[in-house]
């Protein structure tokens, strides 16, 4: 009995110790604002660039990430707002990881999930709306309002959850498409420009697809619904958000075949497998596509990127404030919005784009810096250079003179043309019921099937 008592005392002491620590994480001093930011891994410039990596724009301006962007923000905030801010920066693997962390009681102030997770968080009342002044273009430090691409802003605003547009809560960060990175010496461009490639026996066990329900569901859905999508005036967004039981069943059959035909279902190995020529084509996010193409180029392999023509996925990640963290804390909210604005400065956007390879939602507004950066990376003065029109995205006349080769490669992956994006739909947050149907479908696809069992 005595033993038990001692033991219990120990446990109690230990637990009290834990409790004490947990409650001690609130800011200790009043004059320092603590901002808890969570972001995907390797999704912000962490500095440390070589001097040789310095970006020199046509007007002579030099951009180089020396310190992590987060540290630069702390300095900038103190300088401009006269207040100290301490950023506690952490990372997570996937949107689901972030959500699970939040459910398990980790609290953050500012996070950067994908559009569907933002919708889920709005639905669950977990987000704090951006303040009215955030979109005031007159304010000197409102770099986001001034710099966000009008096209991306419009697409985000078109997404509504509970009647409220996403732009009430979220500031766009990076965006892109879902497409196919392929080896042009093995794969026809025509084949790569359709999700059908993932069923094509010509490339049996030479293709990789994603080990992720939403992405692969999207590809399967586009194949299952290809006839409807091809109709004139088809509502692409509606078709590519279909999660009815009948459709989910159809998609299950398609994905089962895709799995049969695939080399791997991967989360991160496709880049490697393309470079080592184990795979010929791979379902990828545009940003990863740019990374793969760059990487392969260093190894002397030419890769290209294609967006499936039947209709593909447009996605974006955005910064949102969690009401849990900032609701009753004016200083915190100010610092959080200042952070969004700081990383939306054209210079920060360029540093991020250079560092992570994705496409920033920031085009700079009146500031020509981002356009100059695109020219710096992709511009060509050769005779055969072609005009590449990005006016739709920049909201002002913006035509890049580019190497024709780039139209199938990095430039196209990073900055798709308007007619491609017109055929792209955002995949919204599934309802709980739909989520269950789709998860069940995924389990069915992935679980073992006895040889004597027939397909559905």
């Amino acid at each position: 009995m005595k033993k038990v008592a001692i033991l219990l005392t120990f446990v109690m002491l230990f637990l009290c110790g834990c409790g004490g620590k947990a409650s001690g994480t609130t800011p200790v001093t009043d004059d320092v604002v603590t901002l808890r930011i969570a972001n995907s891994e390797e999704y912000i410039d962490e500095g440390g660039w070589d001097a040789s990596e310095t970006i020199t724009l046509s007007d002579g301006q030099k951009i180089r990430g020396v310190d992590p962007l987060v540290n630069d923000f702390e300095k900038w905030y103190q300088e401009k707002y006269g207040k100290k801010v301490r950023v506690l920066y952490s990372t997570y693997g996937t949107n689901e990881d972030l959500y699970n962390q939040m459910t398990l009681g980790n609290s953050f102030d500012l996070v950067c999930p994908s559009e569907y997770m933002i919708m889920k968080l709005i639905r669950e009342n977990k987000l704090e709306p951006l303040s009215k002044d955030f979109y005031n273009k007159e304010s000197a430090y409102n770099y986001y309002a001034k710099g966000v691409s009008p096209y991306i802003f419009k697409r985000m605003k078109g997404l509504k959850e509970g009647g409220k547009p996403l732009t009430d809560y979220a500031a766009g960060y990076m965006w892109g498409t879902l497409g196919t990175v392929y080896n042009p010496s093995k794969v026809d461009k025509k084949d790569a420009s359709s999700f059908r490639i993932y069923l094509n026996k010509k490339y049996y066990k030479r293709l990789t697809i994603k080990d992720s329900v939403r992405d692969t569901y999207f590809a399967g859905l586009a194949i299952a619904k290809e006839k409807e999508l091809a109709k004139n005036g088809a509502d692409i967004s509606k078709i590519l958000n279909d999660t009815s039981q009948k459709t989910v069943n159809q998609v299950e059959d398609v994905i089962t075949d895709m799995r049969e035909n695939a080399y791997s279902m991967e989360t991160d190995s496709a880049k490697q497998d393309l470079v080592t020529r184990k795979a010929d084509a791979s379902l990828q996010w545009s940003g990863d596509g740019v990374f793969s193409i760059n990487q392969a180029e260093k190894d002397g392999l030419r890769l290209c990127y294609a967006v499936p023509e039947e209709g593909s996925n447009l996605w974006f990640d955005g910064w949102v404030m969690l009401s849990d963290g900032v609701k009753d804390d004016k200083d915190k909210k100010q610092a959080a919005e200042a952070f969004i604005n700081y990383i939306s400065r054209p210079e920060s956007a360029i540093r991020n784009m250079y560092y992570i390879g994705y496409t920033s939602a920031i085009t700079g507004g009146d500031d020509p810096m981002v356009e100059e950066y695109v020219n710096y990376v992709y511009g060509s003065e050769e005779k055969n250079a072609v005009d590449y029109d990005l006016s739709y995205l920049f909201g002002k006349k913006c035509v890049i003179k580019a190497d024709p080769d780039q139209l199938d490669r990095q430039l196209f992956a990073q900055y798709p043309t308007e007619d491609i994006l017109k055929r792209c739909a955002v995949m919204k947050c599934f309802s709980n019921q739909a989520n269950r149907r789709v998860s069940q479908m995924w389990t069915n696809v992935r679980c073992y099937r006895f040889p004597w069992e027939k397909r559905r």
Binding site: T94, N100, K205, A262, T443, R446, C447, Y448, F450
Partner: protein, 254 residues
């Protein structure tokens, strides 16, 4: 308060309570409740009603069984040869058998992947075969060590007695060596069979996209389905308990 030897166990007990018992309790609660927190057996019944999840259980058991059988077939003679070699040589040989364990197993499987790819031309043609190779590579030392230990500690005089009493090689093996090595075999099997059922990292890394029990838990948790994820964990736990009980009986009988 007088010092008692049993008090030395207190740190471990505390660790056990906080990091093993408490999480297990949570798993049990989730296993037997539904989304609104009511008691239910639905999760369990659902598992045994669905032919997909049953097939996954069977597939996992099969993967584990094949892995264990091959590990045993390879480890048993190896352990015997190791234990029988001269004293100095023995330790070096044993070291050689155990050294692979010092290298992180994801690294080992990554290397294995390249080798298999080279040999097979395309890794994706033989997912099951690759899985078994990977699992054996991963778990072999866990089978060798316990069997080596029983051979090493085996009383040689028993073998001599058997031979003196006229046993030929076959009956010496069947009625003396094998029964004496049963405890080693039993603990080797528990150390290989159960982890092999859930070791989905090997499958992932070698591009076998079929789920085993471990991946099933992961997929439920990814879909925020704590209840079904916990339920599969509980089923695995029951299987582990079942096998440990059988293993214990076998060891005692031997």
């Amino acid at each position: 308060m007088r010092f008692k030897r049993s008090m030395l166990g207190i740190p471990y007990v505390i660790f056990l309570i906080i990091f093993v018992m408490a999480p297990l309790a949570v798993v049990f609660v989730y296993t037997f409740t539904n989304g609104s927190g009511q008691f239910t057996l639905e999760n369990f019944l659902g598992f045994f009603k669905s032919s997909r999840t049953i097939a996954t259980l069977v597939y996992s058991l099969f993967v584990a069984l094949v892995t264990t059988v091959f590990c045993l077939l390879i480890a048993y003679p190896t352990a015997y040869a190791l234990a029988r070699s001269g004293f100095k040589k023995k330790n070096i040989l044993l070291l050689l058998a155990v050294i692979p364990m010092w290298i992180n197993f994801t690294l080992r499987v990554t290397a294995l992947k390249e080798v298999l790819d080279l040999v097979e031309g395309n890794l994706a043609y033989y997912p099951f075969f690759n899985t078994i190779i990977g699992q054996i590579y991963d778990f072999l030392p866990f089978m060798i060590l316990p069997i080596f230990n029983v051979f090493d500690e085996m009383d040689k005089s028993l073998l001599e007695a058997g031979r003196d009493l006229g046993a030929d090689r076959k009956s010496l093996f069947l009625s003396v060596i094998l029964p004496l090595s049963m405890p080693g075999i039993a603990s080797g099997i528990t150390m290989v069979f159960l982890p092999a059922m859930t070791n989905y990292v090997v499958l992932d890394m070698l591009y076998n996209s079929t789920y085993i029990m471990g991946s099933l838990i992961g997929s439920y948790f990814n879909a925020y389905d704590w209840h079904n994820g916990s339920m599969v964990s509980t089923i695995l736990l029951l299987i582990i308990i079942l096998f440990s009980l059988i293993g214990k009986n076998k060891t005692q009988n031997a």
